[in-house]
Amino acid sequence: MASKSFRAAINEALKLEMRRDNRVIVLGEDVAGGRGGSANVEEAWGGPFGMTRGLYKEFGATRVLDTPITESAFVGATAGAAMTGLRPVAEVMFVDFTGVCFDQIMNQIAKIRYMFGGKAKLPLVIRMLYGAGYRAGAQHSQCLYPIYTHLPGLKVAVPSNPHDAKGLLISAIRDDDPVLFFEHKAILGMKGEVPDEAYEVPLGKANIVRAGKDVTVVAIGRMVHMAEKAAAALAKEGIDCEVIDPRTTSPLDTAAILASVRKTGRLVAVDEAYPRCNMATDIAALAAQEAFGSLRAPVRMVSPPHVPVPFAAPLEDLYIPNADKVAEAVRATVKHTSSS
């Protein structure tokens, strides 16, 4: 086992699965990069963020396909290829760009199997960068996984660390359903222990990041780290947090969340996505319906304000939920119970 970055973990998963199964192909904008350029380099970029570096060299142009800037066509092609025998992994650089191919995801990919009465399989993955913190402005910083979690027929993975990124991506590629795979751009360089061999982290199985008895903190993607940081600080105050990383928002490991809430009686849901109809509201609703009798305090949700992601650094920092905001919400749930 070695320490590897999130970026390297993704790259390794792609490489291993492409070696294992020659039906796995990778396509997207500049996944090799450099085609037709005056430098005459065949793999100039290996992905805009270097996530696919080395794939073109090893697997060639048949299996590593650069596309024009044409999300609607190549995401639709991903669906068509998956229906007819390939196992494509598409890279849409930023989830924000799925606006231009939303029809292909929402009306084609998510619905084909159901509309066809189960007579089609769509073993495909769409990888996308998401999230704020990169000073990238309102059209390159969104989360949007709640939109895709909303749609039946899709699976949605939001890994929080390199180990899970590799294992979840391998599971996603081997899965016979379409998986939308979210990679937070602010943690691509984050390192962690990642086994060299191929392994699966199952879709729909939450990770109890930290066990605790006082408050359940459910956090998504990068927010898991904010929750862990808050939990460490709160431990010094005598508050024992249980931090849960659902890993996938669809399927959502409701059993793990509810078991924890029933144990602690308090829930804080942390989500970097816009606050209306996001994962925090979804998880809060789950607890309200299924664990109301166990709750000793109102559920608290920690999300950004209902605004687009701002560009200026102080504003973006204000926008993103952080460990202090998580800790504040946790303290409020504890205080509520003590004062009542």
Partner: protein, 322 residues
């Protein structure tokens, strides 16, 4: 004519079954027994027949909301199709798709599609599979004149050309996109001119002429199967019915459809063409019409009598596993 008697009989059988299928649906829809939206293909039969004559099960097509003709030409089971349109469990999609989503991947039919123009992108993927897996297959996208103006269609044509895919873009310019004439909505007048922009050969043919469609498709499939890339075929004709069943068609002059049926009809034309050439006698064609009538009648009766899907079907087929 380079087609054998058997090929010609087969083509006429396809046209006859499509015509009977949709003429019958027109009658049955009016009874109120068929749920939802139905879009009829009558008047365009020569296109589906001429295009699909060159295809087999290894080849894929993606269809439109007006898809019955494509399904029949691609050899989908008409009994299963009819049951699907009636929303019955015996339907090709178990009653979960309906007229706008009939599909049968075993027959290379990737689905009718409720989203105008969307199938072109799916076809790029099927063509990519054919190319990558070396199946020798081609993939054909049917799109209407309305769909020809969708951005996805331009993207798909560009991608197919850049990747040199065995894809064929068939545009059925049937005169109207919903209630708006293609003459008004198509900048540049002809869809075929757009082929040039994407560096692919373009063919414009009379969609009422089976032989013209067949010959354009022959060239397009030869090119695609030889690995030379995509082609575009624009077929011009007019649909006999409204955009959807129930459409009052107050945007069309009263005599337009009468004239079309009397003077332009693709089946009458086919009969005249094969008759003049002395290839097939009228009696053989009449027999095909009678068979089609009986087949469709049986399909309607079976569909009406068939059970609806069980409640348990609501929750299945969303995922392969979840």
């Amino acid at each position: 004519m380079q087609q054998s008697r058997d090929q010609l009989l087969k083509a006429y059988r396809v046209m006859s079954r499509i015509r009977e299928f949709d003429e019958r649906l027109h009658v049955e829809f009016a009874t109120g027994e068929i749920p939802g939206f139905v879009h009829l293909y009558a008047g365009e039969e020569a296109v589906a027949a001429g295009i699909c004559a060159h295809l087999s099960d290894r080849d894929y097509i993606a269809s439109t909301h007006r898809g019955h003709g494509h399904c029949i030409a691609k050899d989908c089971d008409v009994t299963g199709m009819m049951a699907e349109i009636y929303g019955k469990a015996a339907g090709l999609c178990g009653g979960k798709g309906g007229s706008m989503h009939i599909a049968d991947l075993d027959k290379g039919m990737m689905g009718a599609n409720g989203i105008v123009g969307a199938g072109t992108a799916l076809v790029c993927g099927a063509a990519l599979s054919a190319k990558t897996l070396g199946t020798g297959g081609v993939a054909v996208a049917f799109t209407g004149d309305g769909g020809s103006n969708q951005g996805t269609v331009f993207e798909a044509m560009n991608l197919a050309s850049v990747w040199s895919l065995p894809a064929i873009f068939v545009f059925e310019n049937n005169g109207y996109g919903e209630a708006t004439a293609s003459e008004w909505a198509l900048a540049g007048g002809d869809i075929v001119r757009r082929a040039q922009a994407f560096a692919m050969p373009g063919h414009q043919v009379d969609g009422n002429d089976y032989f013209a469609v067949w010959d354009a498709m022959r060239q397009a499939t030869e090119r695609a199967r030889a690995g030379q890339g995509p082609s575009l075929i624009e077929c011009k004709m007019k649909r006999y019915y409204g955009h959807f069943e129930g459409d009052t068609q107050n945007y069309r002059a009263k005599e337009e459809i009468e004239t079309l049926r009397a003077e332009k009809d693709c089946m009458k034309r086919f009969r005249a063409q094969v008759g003049e050439a002395g290839l097939i006698d009228v009696a053989a064609l009449d027999a095909i019409d009678a068979e089609a009538k009986a087949e469709i009648d049986a399909a309607v009766k079976a569909a009406k009598a068939a059970p609806t899907p069980p409640a348990s079907a609501l929750m299945t087929d969303v995922y392969a596993s979840y």
